[in-house]
């Protein structure tokens, strides 16, 4: 199924955001279509997290506008967006002893009326999310007793339980070992392929982005440097210019994404 020609899911025009007199994002024009896995890459401080904050409406645009599904993002009620867009943050600290299943159930918050108990569907989706992230055996454990990797899988499961069309990941795997990183990326990849969901993920590891994403959005110093399909966008010149690193890019072939080898000396 090819969604490329559908109306854009997000359409950002002339988006600007400044933070304490620093222009973090300037003149962002970007269309995102549904059913794609977008990798957001760029050096530290290039504005990746801010762009994700704008897309999740946790920060307001200072000028320009974002249209989401045909309506200005700013015009959505928080509760309306909560059933459409979920976020997996990079940083997760939890000082309170919630159990794993309680925490995953928090993903169902926008669906459960105040003072009501979760429905069977809520509980089923929580169960499914825990199975997918392989934390089902941990469900009665306290979140504060888990290792960093286990915690992050719980956080991803919480976002999956939210059951949204759009999933936003802010370097969601950067604290994980390579095994769990790849496992989570496979799960996310499946959501895009099989269920047509849209994922926008800020990713540091270019090879990871190359292996799993359909499209990349490259940010440099608060501007969009380029966007496009992974195989076309990730070039030696781009890596040199944006990241100031010499690299060789092994071209994409059938069944293989491009691979990047850095020149380390």
């Amino acid at each position: 199924m090819n969604n490329i020609h559908n109306d854009p899911l997000f359409a950002i025009s002339k988006g600007c955001f400044a933070y304490r007199a620093n222009n973090v994002l300037q003149n962002i024009d970007l269309d995102l279509v549904p059913g794609q896995f977008y990798g957001l890459i760029g050096p530290n401080g290039s504005g990746k997290t801010t762009l994700l904050d704008l897309l999740t409406a946790t920060r307001p645009l200072q000028s320009g506008q974002i249209i989401f599904q045909g309506k200005a993002l700013a015009d959505y009620a928080k509760k309306e967006l909560a059933v459409k867009i979920a976020l997996v943050p990079q940083q997760f600290t939890m000082g309170f002893d919630f159990t794993v299943s309680d925490l995953v159930l928090m993903g169902r918050y926008p669906y459960i009326p105040r003072f009501s108990n979760p429905s069977q569907r809520d509980l089923d989706l929580v169960d499914e999310a825990m199975h997918v992230m392989q934390i089902h055996t941990l469900r009665h454990r306290l979140i504060t007793d888990l290792s960093g990797g286990e915690k992050q899988r719980v956080v991803v499961a919480r976002a999956l339980a939210q059951d949204t069309e759009v999933l936003v990941l802010d370097e969601a795997t950067s604290n994980l070992d390579i095994h769990h990183t790849i496992e989570i990326m496979h799960v996310i990849r499946k959501l895009v392929r099989e269920q047509g969901r849209t994922v926008i993920a800020a990713i540091h590891d270019l090879n990871l982005a190359a292996a799993f994403c359909d499209q990349v959005i490259v940010l440099k110093e608060g501007r969009i440097f380029t966007t496009g399909p992974v195989a076309e966008a990730l070039t030696v010149d781009l890596i040199a210019e944006v990241f100031q690193v010499q690299a060789e890019v092994q071209a994409a072939s059938l069944n293989h994404s491009p691979r990047i080898h850095y020149t380390l000396s």
Partner: protein, 342 residues
């Protein structure tokens, strides 16, 4: 919320009712629990007293003991709930109702009212001390918020730091007032240590008017507080307007604290220990923790007040008693936390 929650809350409520009845019977003039119930029941119905009950009992129960006991219970409950809210919002299990400097503001206001009296400016103390304390607390809150405002997210660190700065300035101010008070500084010190001696019905009513609606408002947002434990950014994407909820609940909890402090003086540790202890026992779900904290705080402060009133040979200021119990407990939590750290 687990299915056991209503049962837990009902047992706590029952326990509080029992504590109130027992405490009312205790004191220089011992009154049997059944007689306490009869006296109150007769008063409520407006009927005469049953035969065989000492005719001085109604006065002792209704005018002397009950207002004091209810004031202690409501203040204890209010402080514990405020503590639970501060801990949940600041994402810090060691926060208390005084974290934002509300107590220092109240203390400054009360000291000012007292020193005006000492310096010969006549103000009716019964009225002015609580009023000044309340105004002091509110002003502090406004200043702390103004200081923290540039941080759009009202992060925990910004709020705590703003509270510390303002409290430090106020404590210097209190020092200066104590210096002005000279030899009569004892009045101020005694007020600061907190007490329920001579509390009357109007004070009980006033406290209740703030504490109970505050409690209801907080209960309404209890579920949002759970979600906010995930952090403001995630909470926002789950449909909680975390900044708004934060503001509403911080103001609400601070108002509750301010009224409690202005009625009773500064009573430490109830607002810290009760929610902390109950969280260990019942888990972190605020929908259960907050109402349970109300009952727990009420029971603790009522018990402490009854100990100073009925057991100890001389009345100890209740703030001293709670801090003497609370201090070591705080050390215990701190130590356990350090040992438990992974």
């Amino acid at each position: 919320m687990s299915s056991k929650s209503p049962l837990i809350l009902m047992s706590l409520a029952l326990f509080l009712a029992l504590a109130i009845i027992l405490a009312t019977g205790m004191g220089f003039l011992a009154i049997a629990p059944l007689e306490v119930i009869q006296v109150v029941w007769a008063k409520v119905r407006g009927a005469g007293l049953a035969a065989g009950i000492n005719p001085t009992f109604p006065f002792v129960v209704m005018e002397v003991r009950l207002p004091r006991i209810l004031a202690a219970a409501i203040v204890g409950g209010g402080l514990a709930v405020a503590g639970a809210v501060f801990q949940a919002i600041l994402l810090n299990p060691l926060a208390d109702p005084y974290t934002l400097g509300v107590s220092s503001g109240a203390a400054f206001g009360a000291s000012l009212a007292l020193v005006l009296g000492i310096l010969g400016i006549t103000v009716p103390l019964f009225f002015s001390v609580p009023l000044f304390a309340f105004l002091g607390a509110m002003t502090t809150l406004i200043v702390v918020f103004a200081l923290a405002a540039p941080d759009g997210r009202l992060s925990s660190n910004t709020l705590i730091l703003s509270g510390v700065i303002v409290a430090a300035i106020l404590s210097a101010g209190i020092g200066f007032i104590k210096y002005l008070a000279d030899e009569q500084v004892g009045v101020i010190i005694f007020w600061l240590m907190g007490s329920f001696v001579g509390k009357t019905w109007p004070e009980v009513t006033l406290t209740a008017i703030f504490v109970f609606p505050g409690l209801l408002l907080i209960l309404y947002f209890a579920r949002d507080l759970n979600i906010m434990a995930l952090g403001g950014r995630t909470a926002d994407t789950l449909g909680v307007d975390s900044r708004k909820v934060k503001k509403i609940l911080l103001v609400c909890a601070s108002l509750m604290t301010a009224i409690c402090v202005s009625v009773s003086g500064i009573i430490g540790f109830v607002g810290l220990i009760i929610p902390h202890l109950l969280r260990l026992a019942l888990g972190p779900d605020n929908r259960l923790l907050i109402p349970a904290s109300f009952f727990g705080g009420a029971i603790l402060l009522l018990t402490a007040d009854t100990i100073t009133r009925a057991w100890l040979p001389t009345e100890l200021p209740i703030g001293v008693l709670t801090s003497l119990i609370g201090g070591p407990f705080f050390c215990y939590i701190f130590r356990k936390k350090q040992l438990g750290q992974r």
